[in-house]
């Protein structure tokens, strides 16, 4: 708290973590909606249209929360991180502007048509509106992940005589290999959230014996997509991501693993508590050689420990980074196991009767959110003490004209506001879930008393 950037960091961390709870479901649900609408259009099977209609309402509520919590993020680059914006705006301004111009306009124009316009647009145009909304959501992710990838692994920039960064090679910046891997990994993880939520609601209905046909669609599609995406998160995307970190952010990898001593045949720590003061990992349970293999492809490669790096290059919160990484990786492994089991039962045709699995699927709902959050904490804490890796430190980036009092004022404001809208969200989503998918053709206007609404 002596750090003048402390409140700024906490506010950004809080608002971005909270914000990302919504887009991950938006992006994870979007492919379901597209696929179901497509199936409904092709086969005329009303069950798929009904599923799409029900999840569109959830999508709409979720999307709205994503928009209102997303707007502060755009502004906070300027308000709280003005020195960073001044330093790197010449580069990251490109993608932040592109995100608004290409992605936000697209999704904001079509989301209303998608949620409210089924009858008005007719099935084909409505399907196109659904695709365009999904495209906008995923495009937005790409632009913001290019921005983040630049902070992790800066490419395509030039330094001006004044010492600020400007764009040098736009193509190199947009095609940053780090961005590709990050995008693939992150989108797969968003699909995990979408799949788990769909399966969870399906399992809830199945266990209660309600909406049986719909419950089956949700559980089956959710577990199929769940297994596919959970595997993709680990391999190849997570694997390549880890190799990039091992290559370009060696010190971050050491901190993620709680590794202090350098050496060959590096062990992968499954459980243990980092003790930074004593420079060791307490109570480790580890797989010897596996870290070397995961990082470099051979069991005897040397993986450097924190002791090899000066302390001013160490990530600033090693303990939290260590736990974030292990929570993410641990949950990711469990997801593959759970979804693998569910698919096994599905192929045997017994999934809808296996109560224990349905309970597990239903109760698994919060964990993809935790895993996604932990994953982002790994990326962002691992990047410390840099705002832009190797170029610009976090301690240089905050707005020095903003007083600590002002920064705390807005943080408290966000805390209160976000607590309230979180309750509102749970209430509205809970209501939709309890109400369930309607069997009739729902009016697509939110305002039944209005003509042409």
């Amino acid at each position: 708290m002596d750090d003048p950037a402390f409140w700024h960091r906490l506010q950004f961390a809080f608002t971005i973590t909270y914000h990302y709870l919504f887009p991950q479901l938006t992006m994870g649900l979007a492919p379901f909606l597209v696929l179901w609408r497509w199936r409904a259009l092709k086969t005329g099977n009303e069950a798929y249209a009904q599923a799409a209609r029900f999840w569109s309402r959830i999508f709409g509520i979720n999307f709205a929360l994503g928009v209102v919590t997303g707007i502060p993020m755009e502004f906070q680059f300027g308000t709280n991180w003005s020195e960073f914006s001044k330093y790197s705006g010449g580069v990251i301004g490109q993608t932040l502007a592109m995100e608004g111009m290409f992605a936000f306009f697209l999704e904001s124009a079509f989301v209303g048509a998608m949620v409210w316009g089924e009858r008005r647009l007719g099935p084909t145009k409505h399907f196109i509106a659904t695709c365009l909304t999904a495209l906008g959501a995923w495009l937005s992710a790409y632009f913001i992940l290019v921005t983040n990838a630049f902070m992790q692994h800066p490419v395509g920039y030039e330094v001006t005589p004044q010492g600020t960064l400007v764009i040098g090679d736009l193509a190199a910046y947009l095609l940053n290999p780090w961005a590709f891997v990050l995008f693939a990994h992150n989108q797969a993880a968003a699909l995990v959230t979408g799949a788990f939520v769909v399966a969870s609601v399906g399992a809830f209905y199945a266990l209660r014996g309600e909406h049986k046909a719909q419950a089956r669609v949700y559980v089956e599609w959710g577990t199929a997509m769940g297994l596919l995406s959970a595997v993709l998160v680990a391999f190849p995307t997570g694997d390549i991501q880890a190799k990039y970190v091992a290559r370009y952010q060696e010190v971050a990898l050491a901190a993620m693993e709680g590794r202090f001593e350098s050496g060959p045949q590096a062990q992968l720590n499954l459980i243990g508590q980092p003790n930074v003061k004593m420079r060791r990992l307490d109570n480790p349970i580890a797989l010897p050689g596996v870290l070397s293999f995961l990082a470099f492809g051979t069991f005897h490669s040397n993986v450097r420990g924190l002791n090899d790096f000066p302390e001013d290059q160490w990530p600033t919160n090693i303990e939290l980074l260590y736990y974030s990484f292990h929570v993410m990786a641990g949950l990711g492994t469990i997801f593959i196991g759970l979804m693998g089991l569910a698919n096994l039962q599905r192929l045997r045709g017994k999934l809808m009767e296996t109560k224990l699995l349905l309970w597990a699927l239903m109760l698994a709902l919060p964990f993809p959110y935790i895993a996604n959050t932990a994953g982002w904490m790994t990326a962002e804490l691992g990047r410390q003490p840099w705002l832009i890796w190797g170029l610009f430190r976090t301690s240089q980036g905050y707005s020095d004209v903003v007083s600590q009092g002002d920064a705390l004022f807005t943080l408290i404001g966000f805390a209160g506001l976000y607590a309230a809208i979180g309750l509102l969200y749970l209430f509205l989503i809970g209501r939709e879930v309890l109400h369930g998918p309607a069997t009739d053709h729902e009016p697509d206007s939110l305002y039944p008393e209005v003509v042409n609404g």
Partner: protein
């Protein structure tokens, strides 16, 4: 190139002001023209699903500021720190009330969100108006090239100013009246029935108020920043903008007199865009004017990004703009036409 990007930035802000302006205006006049919960639903339905697309113009204008003038963004946003967050919170409340107000068929739920919608829109108009007032009046930019504004200091429009003083409050009041009039014109065009009829009367009164206040604000601006008008007289582009505003007001009056709803509405759009255009042309190249010493003002030339960034952005920006206008026009067409109320169900 710098001139072009300044124009693009101002154009996007003007587009935001015109398009989100009518949504804000609908919110301000909501309780004056819509007396029953059903009528208020009718008003929200008239705003329609494109409101997020309208709001994106503000976000995208911020993106343009980021790509072209990062230094200006880095000075202005922390300088207005508290006001920016109050605005963000209001936009958040507005989004929630528009999206969720209709979700429950419950009178307490609807009353709550209707009142919230009216209040936050009023606040948004005040904040946007005060922001405009601040940019016209100037900011306490010192030798450090930075500033930090309190909400208020001594309410004088010179020296160590705050966000609110007599001048910026006056601009805020004018903005509220102007956007309310604009919103009422929109409702005249897009609704029928009782809401339409009340909007007709209200739009007439509000536009008269706008035209009465206009010379007052002009005079106040001349007192606070006289050089704006000497610049304006020398710049033909500013004349075009002024002509546009004057023609717009003529269309408003003419449209109202002959019951031509769309003409009157378009006149209001032209009036707002013309005023903002005239202001933008007159302040150029200064983006952040210093009230302490003009030497500390930040110009577009100083604030613009170096390197090939501006040229590169000019390749993709027009493509994105055309696409965006296409989406907006398409969805607008799908939801076009007057919004009315069904006959009340028999009890």
């Amino acid at each position: 190139m710098v001139e072009l990007w300044f124009a693009i930035f101002c154009l996007m802000l003007a587009a935001y002001a015109v398009m989100d302006g009518w949504n804000i205006g609908c919110g301000i006049v909501q309780f004056l023209v819509a007396r029953t919960p059903a009528e208020r639903r009718q008003l929200i339905a008239a705003i329609g699903p494109l409101w997020t697309w309208h709001e994106v113009w503000l976000v995208a204008a911020g993106g343009v500021l980021f790509v072209a003038f990062p230094t200006v963004l880095a000075v202005a946003l922390p300088g207005f720190y508290l006001a920016v967050f109050v605005l963000i919170w209001c936009l958040l409340g507005r989004g929630l009330s528009l999206e969720f107000g209709g979700h429950l068929d419950d009178s307490m739920w609807r009353t709550f969100w209707d009142v919230a919608f009216a209040v936050v829109n009023l606040l948004v108009a005040v904040l946007l108006g005060a922001a405009l007032g601040n940019l016209l009046r100037g900011l306490p930019l010192g030798p450090s090239g930075k500033f930090s504004l309190a909400f208020f200091t001594d309410f004088r429009a010179e020296g160590n100013v705050g966000i609110l003083d007599w001048y910026t409050i006056a601009v805020a009041v004018f903005t509220v009246v102007c956007l309310a009039a604009h919103g009422a014109s929109y409702l005249v065009w897009r609704t029928e029935g009782a809401v339409h009829d009340r909007s007709v009367g209200l739009a007439r009164k509000l536009w008269i108020a706008v035209f009465v206040l206009m010379p007052v604000i002009t005079l106040a601006t001349a007192v606070v920043r006289p050089e704006l008008f000497t610049e304006m007289i020398q710049r033909p582009l500013a004349w075009i903008a002024v002509v546009m505003a004057v023609a717009g007001s003529a269309l408003v009056i003419n449209g109202q007199r002959h019951g031509l709803e769309f003409r009157s509405f378009v006149g209001g759009c032209a009036f707002i865009a013309g005023l903002l255009g005239a202001a933008a042309v007159s302040v150029f190249p200064v983006m952040l004017h210093s009230t302490l010493d003009p030497a500390h003002s930040l110009t577009a030339y100083q604030g613009a990004v170096d390197g090939p960034g501006l040229g590169l952005a000019l390749i993709w920006w027009p493509v994105a703009l055309i696409l965006s206008l296409g989406y907006g026009a398409y969805v607008f067409r799908q939801f076009r036409g007057k919004v009315g109320l069904k006959a009340p169900r028999p009890h």
